[in-house]
């Protein structure tokens, strides 16, 4: 076995020290070493975005990154975003606008959306669709997902009124 490497990663605000094999993917480190199973393995080929997490504030696909590459970084997963009693506005948007069916893609969708709204707090519908090109939903289509993002953008901007269902 290749020599293990010591890594220090701050995950959802908690400093973690681990000895990892270099080939351990970040997504497997999160799920299997740390038990954070909210991050999903979907296609495992860098396409579907179900494994999206934030590394140093940027959304990345954790199936296409080794845990050793995150050494010294700060990682945020879906577990670090909100809690059942206190949802993040983007989580609330997916709940309110029914932006999911089976829910498998949802953690990745939400992490990609938070990244989008960090960079562009008031995106157009075209910008939302472009920003979610790396996240696949195989259940519902994207209509309500776009609405969920719009809800979250409004909520985060402090707008109370939300576009009604039509």
């Amino acid at each position: 076995m290749a020599d293990k490497v010591h890594i220090k990663v701050v995950v959802n605000g908690v400093e973690r020290h681990s000895e990892v094999e270099p080939r351990l993917l970040l997504v497997h480190y999160l799920r299997e070493t740390l038990g954070l199973t909210g991050t999903h393995v979907g296609c495992d080929t860098s396409q579907c975005g179900a494994c999206t997490v934030h590394v140093d504030g940027q959304a990345v696909k954790s199936c296409t990154m080794f845990a050793v590459q995150a050494d010294g970084s700060s990682v945020t997963t879906i577990e670090g975003l909100g809690s059942p009693g206190s949802l993040h506005p983007v989580q609330e948007g997916f709940w309110e606008m029914h932006g999911l069916q089976c829910g498998f893609c949802t953690p990745g969708m939400i992490m990609a959306t938070v990244d989008l709204l960090n960079k562009n707090p008031n995106p157009s519908e075209a910008e939302i669709r472009h920003a979610l090109e790396g996240n696949y939903c195989r259940c519902t289509g994207y209509h309500n997902i776009v609405r969920a993002v719009q809800y979250a953008a409004d909520k985060m901007a402090g707008k109370v009124g939300v576009a009604a269902d039509d």
């Binding site: 076995m1 290749a2 020599d3 490497v5 094999e21 270099p22 080939r23 993917l25 495992d44 080929t45 860098s46 396409q47 975005g49 999206t52 940027q58 959304a59 990345v60 696909k61 296409t64 990154m65 080794f66 050793v68 590459q69 050494d71 990609a112 990244d115 989008l116 920003a131 979610l132 090109e133 790396g134 996240n135």
Partner: protein, 278 residues
């Protein structure tokens, strides 16, 4: 999926990376990893060691040196997309980069990684040719500069030699030049089925295509037809016809040779219309 086992070495400088390459001749350089890691997961590549150069400070960022933009090889697509220097002096690159992959890919992928990998369907090689970029490489025997026109030598093949590291991309600033990139993306992968970059500097036209052949290449016929001509809708339409013959083009499930040849004409026209503001 797990890759084969490898040793992980993180380089903190180009000199250290060059030395690690000497010690591990079978190693691969790790940049953004978005071509290399998938290839390793499929066991199409199994290097004994990875030398991570993505955090090497001297390889990162965009700066202006007189009439040249210098881009560090490990500058990510996201950094290119949001670079104010590029927006002001080379808008072609932020525009082309915005069409690469998706935001997560753009957070990791690097310009140097893309050029060194030389995927025949990668976006940036066409822009490098159209801009007349120079590519700087550092090796055990020193530094050399390679013209973009001489850099891409085949499918996944470049003029880089064993033990060399692509360190910088130099782009001449062409103030006032009109430039644009138009792409027909593969519907699933977002790679270019065909992508055309054009740079119109006064009466001088440079154009290049990616996705069509074994590697990105200049569109000489288009350059000759339009150089010195006013960029009118009629001139553009007349010039963008039969730019490449289908015979030598790529063909796959996404596009036949004939369809690719057609797309080259269409994408060239779209890029020129966009550049001309028509």
């Amino acid at each position: 999926m797990y890759t084969s086992e490898f040793a992980y070495k993180k380089a903190n400088s180009v000199a250290e990376a060059l030395s690690l390459l000497q010690q591990h001749p079978d190693a691969k350089l790790l940049a953004g990893g978005h071509s290399l890691i998938p290839t390793m997961k499929l066991r199409l590549a199994a290097p004994s060691a990875l030398i991570d150069i993505s955090k090497v400070a001297e390889l990162r960022g965009v700066r202006k040196e007189n009439d040249t933009l210098v881009i560090g090889a490990m500058t990510t697509y996201h950094e290119l997309e949001t670079s104010n220097l590029l927006k002001a002096h080379c808008p072609l690159l932020p525009q082309a980069v915005y069409l690469i992959g998706d935001p997560m890919v753009r957070a990791k992928g690097t310009i140097g990684g893309s050029l060194a990998h030389a995927d025949p369907a990668a976006d940036l090689p066409a822009s490098m040719l159209a801009l007349g970029a120079k590519i700087k490489a550092q090796g055990p025997n020193g530094t050399r500069v390679i013209e973009a026109d001489d850099f891409f030598t085949g499918m996944f093949s470049t003029a880089l030699q064993e033990g060399e590291i692509l360190t910088e991309i130099h782009i001449p600033i062409l103030e006032g030049a009109k430039m644009a990139y138009a792409k027909f993306p593969h519907p699933a992968s977002r790679y270019a089925v065909v992508g055309v970059a054009v740079v119109v500097d006064g009466g001088n036209v440079r154009a290049a295509v990616t996705g069509a052949g074994e590697h990105a290449m200049r569109l000489g016929k288009l350059e000759q037809a339009l150089s010195g001509q006013p960029l009118t809708t009629a001139n553009i339409a007349a010039a963008c016809q039969g730019l490449l013959s289908p015979g030598n083009l790529n063909h796959d499930l996404a596009a036949s040779r004939e369809y690719r040849a057609h797309l080259v004409d269409v994408m060239a026209k779209r890029a020129l219309m966009q550049a001309a503001g028509l």
